[in-house]
């Protein structure tokens, strides 16, 4: 337990340091920006309730899929490594095509993807979609990262989330700049 607690604290310190140190002042810096976004991705999983059938068997991990070019690099793997959300581990998969239903619980759509408006409806229910820019919401995405005052923020399309059977925590909603 002592070992576990020590590990936990160290990792927390790292993730929070990343969040705070870079989240505030270094949005312009790509690597810091994506470190913050990576932490946000992780935190989103804590405020989202998936439909029961979309999570798979108990103990099976929550899979975070990155569609297109990976802007996070190793950072995401570092951040989610060892994290437990509702008793499930997190797994990272980098994909190039629209994932099969049930294979991803959170899908980050990289800006490298051009056919977002077509890709998103093809996804089955139970996938939280996160993208970049307000256009992502218009394309049917659920959460979109934005930069405001040099800080990473996000917007939410609740309608989309509801449509796909996802319940977003009111706490999360209250932090979002716009909720559609």
């Amino acid at each position: 337990m002592k070992h576990g607690l020590g590990t936990f604290l160290r990792k927390s310190a790292i993730s929070l340091c990343l969040l705070l140190c870079f989240g505030k002042a270094a949005a312009a810096d790509d690597s810091i920006e994506y470190q913050v976004k990576a932490a946000f991705l992780l935190n989103f999983t804590k405020f989202v309730e998936w439909p029961a059938d979309s999570l798979g068997a108990p103990g099976s991990p929550i899979t975070v899929c990155i569609l297109g070019d990976d802007p996070f690099g190793h950072t995401l793997d570092q951040i989610v490594g060892g994290e437990l959300v509702n008793g499930r581990k997190l797994a990272v998969q980098r994909i190039r095509r629209t994932p099969a239903p049930g294979s991803c619980q959170l899908l980050f759509v990289s800006t490298s993807e051009k056919e977002i408006a077509r890709t998103l409806p093809a996804l089955g229910p139970g996938v939280l979609t996160v993208g970049e820019g307000e256009s992502f919401l218009r394309d049917g995405g659920m959460i979109a990262f934005t930069i405001e005052n040099r800080r990473v923020r996000f917007r939410i399309n609740q309608t989309a989330a509801q449509r796909y059977g996802l319940k977003l925590s009111s706490k999360l909603l209250s932090l979002a700049r716009t909720v559609e």
């Binding site: 936990f8 927390s12 310190a13 929070l16 340091c17 969040l19 705070l20 989240g23 505030k24 913050v36 946000f40 935190n43 804590k46 405020f47 437990l84 959300v85 509702n86 800080r151 923020r153 996000f154 925590s169 706490k171 999360l172 209250s174 932090l175």
Partner: protein, 615 residues
């Protein structure tokens, strides 16, 4: 400031009621305030914990997504709690993430604490609570709560309690003024009763009984006590009155005695039972010229003649010791320095039980009387001496007359004619009678010279001598003299013989026709013997019973009854010299019985008469 114990009961009751009331209410108020403060703290802790829980929970997302603004908003919801002074959210590493401060709040957030805690300070409450997200601590919420509320509540409660105390005190005061009358009024009644009793000393006053409680009992007892005192007071007054009366009576008696004592010509005094003289009447002071202070007690001894003093004191002490009356003749010095003879009599006055209460004495001045007595005695002695000398000197010429008249009668018998013989006979007879008279007178006067007492004499022997002296007369008269056995008596034998001789001679002389019968007897009478000489002669008329004992008293001028008239006088003188008396019992024609008494023994002390007669 008076002590509580000195203030009136009415005020004590008010103080007691008010104090009890106030203390009870204050204690109740204090209890309420204290318990409320504890309860309120518990409530506050729970309430604040719950609030912190909500706030912490609502802050998780803000922390997770690094949104201090949102966190600040969340915190600002605490505005509704006016006593929350400040609230802060720290990040996991202790950095301040968001804060809220009440407007005008003096202090900022307490420092970050790694542990959850709920800490009551003096004026505030600090609550730290970890903000957890998915089992991970993402921050800490710290709330600073102002406990001024508690003080306010306490103030409010205090005020309420104070108000209640005041109001209930007022109500209690109004109520107690009614209620205390129940207790105080009977006490006032009692106090009023005691006050008027002590002021008027009227024990007839009674306190009114207003209740049946202890005060009622007290009133009853008080009244009983008063009744007791009243009866005792009455008894006391009566006893006092009786005593005063007795004292007045005693004073009256004393006054009477004083008046009497002061009015008497005699000197009067009184003495205590132990002989201290405590009163002299005025006559004493006039006589002695000395003040009471100098002669009281035993001071009187200074004016007693030194020659009398020793015996005086001896006799006075004897009387004091035995209680016997004191009788003494002594000389007292008068104011002018001359001594005067007094006869003092002192007698003991005794109470009912026989104890001596005082001595009362009188001193009668007998100086003149005594001088006259002396004068008389001297005169008497002179007379006796004269009579003795005269009788003695007369004896010789008378004897010559008798002798020579007899010689004449014998030798010149033939030469005398009848007349001569008759006249000579008268002469001879006269001479003989004169000789007898002279003898008797000598005998009488000789009695002034009494012998010193000798041994007792046998009176029967003395009687025999007397009878032999009278033998011729007895034979001539053909008389019979008988006598019983006679006792020994203390008289000179010559004196006793003279008495017998005279009495028997009388009996022979005053005879009837028949031969005289004479009987001598004696019976004891106390310390004396009473002799009786009884005859059957002519007897004596009762009217002469006393006079016959005078000198030259003769009842019969008749020649038949010759005599000098001195015999019975001699008898009386002899008998009286020895302290006896002589008398006769008779009726005319019935004979006579002469009685005389003679002492069985000589008196112990010499009588003045005897001693003076000796000179």
């Amino acid at each position: 400031m008076r002590a509580f114990s000195d203030i009136p009961i009415r005020q004590k009751l008010i103080v007691a009621i008010m104090a009890t009331n106030t203390v009870a209410l204050l204690l109740a108020g204090l209890g309420i305030v204290v318990s409320d403060s504890f309860l309120f703290r518990g409530y506050l802790a729970r309430d604040l914990s719950a609030l912190a829980h909500v706030v912490a929970d609502n802050s998780t997302a803000a922390l997770a997504f690094n949104d201090p603004r949102a966190a600040t908003e969340t915190l600002s919801a605490l505005r509704a709690k006016s006593h929350v002074l400040a609230a802060c959210i720290y990040e996991a590493n202790g950095t301040m993430f968001a804060r809220y401060a009440r407007p005008n709040a003096p202090s900022g957030c307490p420092a970050f604490a790694a542990q959850d805690e709920l800490r009551f300070n003096r004026t505030d409450l600090v609550l730290s609570r970890a903000i957890m997200l998915s089992g991970r601590r993402v921050g800490t919420l710290v709330v600073l709560y102002d406990l001024g509320e508690i003080a306010e509540r306490m103030k409010l409660y205090g005020g309420t309690v104070l108000l209640v105390v005041l109001v209930s005190g007022l109500v209690a005061f109004l109520l107690s003024s009614k209620l205390r009358a129940v207790i105080a009024t009977p006490i006032f009644q009692l106090v009023r009763a005691t006050t008027s009793v002590s002021e008027t000393s009227d024990y007839g006053i009674r306190a009114a009984k207003l209740s049946d409680d202890e005060l009622g009992v007290l009133v009853d007892r008080f009244n009983e006590m008063l009744a007791g005192i009243q009866s005792r007071d009455n008894n006391l007054k009566k006893a006092l009155h009786d005593r005063e009366e007795a004292l007045r009576d005693a004073e009256k008696a004393r006054e009477r005695f004083r008046f009497m004592a002061e009015s008497m010509p005699q000197k009067i005094f009184t003495a205590t039972p132990n002989g201290d003289i405590d009163y002299f009447n005025r006559q004493w002071f006039e006589f002695s010229g000395l003040p009471f202070e100098e002669i009281k007690g035993w001071g009187w001894t200074q004016f007693v003649h030194p020659a009398d003093l020793e015996e005086n004191i001896e006799r006075w002490l004897h009387s004091i010791k035995t209680g016997e009356p004191f009788l003494f003749q002594h000389r007292f010095r008068r104011a002018d320095g001359l001594y005067r003879w007094h006869l003092s009599r002192v007698r003991a006055m005794r109470d009912a039980s026989g104890d001596i209460t005082m001595w009362i004495g009188s001193n009668t001045e007998i100086h003149e009387q005594k001088e006259k007595e002396d004068e008389l005695r001297r005169a008497n002695e002179d007379l006796q001496q004269f009579a003795y000398s005269a009788s003695h000197d007369l004896q010789e010429p008378i004897r010559n007359v008798a002798v020579y008249s007899e010689i004449v009668a014998r030798r010149y018998h033939d030469r005398l004619d009848d007349d001569g013989k008759l006249f000579l006979g008268f002469l001879t007879e006269g001479g003989r009678r004169l000789a007898t008279l002279i003898d008797d007178l000598l005998a009488y006067t000789r009695l002034g010279v009494i012998d010193e007492p000798t041994a007792p004499v046998d009176s029967s022997v003395v009687l025999e001598h007397a009878l032999s002296s009278l033998a011729e007369a007895i034979r001539e008269s053909n008389a019979t003299v008988t006598y019983d056995s006679l006792p020994e008596v203390c008289m000179g034998d010559a004196h006793l013989q003279q008495v017998f001789q005279n009495l028997i001679s009388n009996a022979l002389k005053y005879r009837k026709e028949e031969p005289p019968q004479i009987h001598v007897s004696a019976v004891r009478e106390g310390a004396t013997w009473r002799f009786a000489v009884q005859d059957n002669g002519i007897g004596i008329d009762a009217q002469y019973k006393e006079t016959i004992f005078g000198v030259f008293k003769r009842l019969h001028r008749d020649a038949r009854y010759s005599g000098t008239g001195i015999g019975l006088a001699i008898c009386q003188r002899v008998v009286e010299r020895y302290g006896g008396r002589i008398w006769v019992e008779s009726a005319p024609g019935e004979g006579a019985t002469f009685f005389f008494t003679a002492p069985e023994s000589y008196p112990q002390s010499r009588s003045a008469t005897i001693s003076s007669a000796g000179s």
